[in-house]
């Protein structure tokens, strides 16, 4: 029997960016908040230090900070007629665990979505006619607009000390920035970080073709900066180890550095780590969650934590799994198209290129994701899709995130990988290669979804979440188009040689592609088409607020975290300003 604990005002499940923002906003509003995090506490002053962090094997190869798949994983198949098998060690995507979650080891490119992204079905209908959208493309408008989210984007950018160049300040276009971005109320808190040689060449080539290059916005401060929480961030060291690792300079934003230190001194906040939430107790008649069950992984004891408000911020897979296990909302059925929980899972798998410039010295080990230059001319509805046969797009970027020696040595494919001659080849190409990537939108498809696995269980005895996903014809066509545009820019850079990397036909769980997983508990205008309303409140449980990219109805052509952070602030505002006064549905179905 679980030990029943004292009631609290709010319980937060998972302490990544989403959970940390909600914890902060709710304690500020006077609530007593308990955060339950399945992983360990992670204290930057102790753990994220030099020389410890400069260890590519530990962090980038052995994935020190990632989820423990021996406890919990997901199963995967490409199509509903296949048998899903467990992902035994994560590869394609790398969710984290412990305080900070995936926000410790992210790459920190912090984007806003386009204003048109939020009303994509309407925009496509207006521009190309309703019939142009395939029946299988289950995209829908977001129930929140860019303008509504704008102040919250701004807040999240300030929390994270984002470095970037504004392209549209209150409607005024600014050269050097992204002319396609939605109007921003204020400039980025920090100037862009330094651009690397390869990306600068890319920018010049792109401009010569009439495109609009700009430095990618990145949550890595270019100079010391004090965020609105009063926390001092350091300046980026360009160490080249950002992805999959933490930041000893406190320049890269993470929940642990940018927000959790304030929570640690907050008497209304209590953090319980190694607290694995197994179930939401759901009162179907009252349409509310009464308590959450969790296991203390240090003792094996089970606890029941009653709470007035439940914040579910346990990443895309955990969020969807909890709702399915508790029977909150109707599970999605791909054969009928009915139901909503598990619907519209989307995943960005990328396509890119490498170019080699013999004789140039790029010093690729000096790197930071923000040293990159992008163009947005082929993203979303920034270009006309008439006659193209697909919808969507993505940004195109020349990257310079760092080139650690185990995983960061690009080599032309016809060079030997081992044996006689391979050392000469890798030594020759290492310092003069530069990489490119295309992000891409994922316009939800009827057959891509999540449900509970009938066979496999996690270490706590719960069915694993089952992922059914493959790339669609639409997204393949989109990717080919965008990669074709990239190739045009690369040619204009005049490299010694280059190689384009197209997407594989089928999505595969190896190797790493992106941790841009979305959907499963999507937001929308009504309960027939969504799990949560515009304030991320569950239609079927009014005291449950689901956070993170699981609420995205589909995926625009950018990284997700800027938007999930903005949504967290937007949702927190609705909770503290509306829900607390009058607990109940904030939108009437």
């Amino acid at each position: 029997m679980a030990t029943r604990l004292k009631d609290v005002d709010a319980v937060v499940i998972g302490l990544g960016f989403s959970g940390a923002i909600l914890s902060r906003e709710l304690t500020k509003a006077g609530l007593n908040v308990v955060a339950l995090e399945r992983g360990a506490d992670r204290n930057p002053a102790d753990e994220f230090t030099l020389t410890r962090l400069r260890d590519e094997l530990r962090y980038a190869v052995r994935l020190e900070l990632m989820q423990d798949n021996s406890i919990d994983t997901i199963t995967f198949r490409n199509a509903p007629d296949e048998v899903a098998l467990p992902i035994r060690r994560f590869g394609a995507f790398l969710p984290g665990e412990g305080v900070g979650g995936t926000g410790i080891h992210w790459g920190a490119l912090q984007w806003r979505f386009l204003p048109t992204d939020f009303r994509i079905r309407s925009v496509l209908t207006e521009r190309y006619g309703a019939k142009a959208i395939p029946d299988t493309m289950t995209i829908q408008d977001w129930p929140v607009s860019y303008d509504e989210l704008e102040p919250h984007y701004d807040r999240f950018e300030k929390l994270c000390g984002v470095s970037g160049q504004a392209g549209n300040l209150r409607g005024k276009l600014i050269s050097g920035g992204n002319p396609f971005e939605g109007p921003r109320s204020e400039d980025y808190p920090n100037k862009p970080i330094k651009t690397a040689v390869g990306p600068a060449m890319f920018g010049a080539a792109a401009a010569s073709l009439g495109y609009h290059p700009f430095p990618v916005p990145v949550a890595t401060s270019s100079a010391p900066y004090v965020n609105p929480e009063g926390i001092t961030l350091g300046a980026c060291e360009y160490c080249g180890h950002c992805n999959r690792t933490a930041c000893e300079a406190n320049a890269k934003a993470s929940p642990n550095v940018n927000i959790v230190p304030v929570l640690r001194t907050e008497p209304k906040f209590e953090l319980r780590t190694r607290a694995f939430v197994t179930r939401l107790n759901y009162d179907r008649n009252a349409k509310r969650i009464t308590s959450v069950l969790y296991t203390d992984m240090r003792t094996g004891e089970e606890y029941e934590q009653p709470a007035g408000i439940v914040i579910l911020s346990s990443f895309v897979f955990g969020n969807t799994q909890q709702l399915l296990l508790a029977g909150i909302g109707e599970p999605y059925d791909p054969s009928s198209g009915n139901g909503v929980v598990g619907k519209n899972y989307c995943y960005q798998f990328e396509a890119g290129a490498n170019a080699f410039f013999e004789g140039r010295e790029f010093n690729p080990f000096m790197g930071a994701p923000g040293m990159s230059i992008a163009i947005d001319d082929f993203n979303g509805e920034n270009f006309d899709h008439s006659g193209l046969g697909f919808f969507g797009g993505g940004y195109i970027v020349c990257t310079n995130a760092g080139a650690p020696p185990i995983g960061g040595r690009a080599m032309p494919k016809d060079e030997p990988r081992w044996g006689v001659g391979w050392k000469q080849a890798t030594a020759k190409w290492y310092r003069c290669s530069t990489g490119f990537n295309t992000q891409g939108s994922v316009y939800a498809h009827r057959d891509n979804f999540m449900d509970l696995d009938p066979t496999y269980k996690d270490a706590l005895g719960r069915p694993l979440i089952r992922l059914t996903y493959n790339a669609t014809d639409n997204d393949h066509a989109m990717s080919r188009h965008v990669v074709g545009k990239l190739e045009g820019v690369i040619k204009a850079m005049n490299p010694t040689r280059y190689e384009m990397h197209y997407r594989p036909k089928n999505f595969t769980v190896v190797p790493y592609q992106s941790t841009h997983n979305t959907g499963g508990t999507i937001m929308g205008a009504d309960p027939n088409s969504s799990v949560v309303n515009r304030y991320l409140q569950a239609w079927d449980a009014h005291n449950l607020f689901v956070q993170g990219a699981s609420v995205f109805p589909q995926q625009p052509g950018y990284n997700p975290t800027g938007t999930l952070g903005a949504l967290a602030y937007w949702s927190a505002k609705a909770i503290t300003e509306q829900y607390l006064k009058n607990p109940g549905p904030l939108v009437h179905a």
Binding site: T51, M66, F76, R89, W418, R431, Y456
Partner: protein, 240 residues
């Protein structure tokens, strides 16, 4: 004890000593074969003895022979084993990772399709143990009864190539998967921080011009724009 086993036992105590038949595990007949290139004396690794802690004598002989074929001695570096790559593999397979930490190991087990990734119950340590048995059996069948480590250099290259291309058909084991794991572990050993046993004397970092630690470049980006930045690489151990 056969000669072979005796030699392997001796060899287990002597890894890291460059240039002798025992240390490299290459029998005399293989020694007589032309070598691709001789290691330059300047690049020689420190000749300290590092015993294996995980691998058996047969496994160690295989791994040494394999890493020396994947990473042959030449003017850029000593051989893989002389750079500590075999010791690295030994320690990795004995580490938590090698024992399957953070790996979902519940059944049922099905082959699945490649898109579904690794689907065996074997930990990396067990995978290599089984893979080496399969590789040696294949080697004996195709190379006159000889284990892989007993092959002449040219035959070792041919054998690994056949594994890489999937042309070598191991009994009950995925040849390509084995080769790819072997290659990636060897490369990780060659390029990882020397604290893990490989990349002795930071030889791999020197080879490509990777400066190692501390990697704080804010003041160097502009100064070295399109100019080569050269620094004596430093490892984690250099700061301890």
């Amino acid at each position: 004890m056969t000669d072979d086993a005796l030699q392997r036992r001796t060899f287990l105590l002597g890894v890291g000593l460059a240039g002798t038949a025992i240390a490299t595990g290459i029998p005399q007949e293989a020694e007589a074969q032309p070598q691709p290139a001789a290691p330059s004396p300047a690049a020689a690794a420190p000749a300290d003895t590092e015993p294996f802690v995980t691998l058996t004598a047969t496994e160690a002989a295989f791994i040494v022979a394999a890493v020396d074929t994947l990473i042959p001695a030449d003017e850029l570096s000593p051989s893989g084993s002389d750079c500590g790559v075999a010791v690295f593999i030994d320690r990795q397979l004995g580490s938590a990772w090698g024992g399957g930490a953070k790996m979902y190991r519940a059944g049922p087990f099905h082959k699945g399709k490649p898109e579904q990734g690794y689907q065996l119950a074997l930990t990396p340590r067990e995978f290599f143990a089984a893979g080496i048995v399969a590789a040696n059996a294949w080697s004996r069948k195709n190379f006159g009864g000889k284990d892989f480590d007993r092959l002449a250099v040219g035959d070792r290259v041919a054998a690994l190539k056949a594994m890489e291309d999937g042309k070598a058909a191991f009994d009950n084991f995925d040849t390509r998967a084995f080769f790819n794991q072997l290659l990636s572990l060897a490369m990780a050993g060659f390029f990882a921080d020397p604290i893990y046993g490989g990349n002795r004397d930071k030889v791999a970092w020197k080879m490509i011009g990777f400066p190692g630690l501390p990697a704080t470049y804010a003041d160097k980006i502009d100064a070295y724009r399109d100019k080569r930045y050269v620094a004596e690489p430093q490892s984690i151990a250099d700061f301890s």
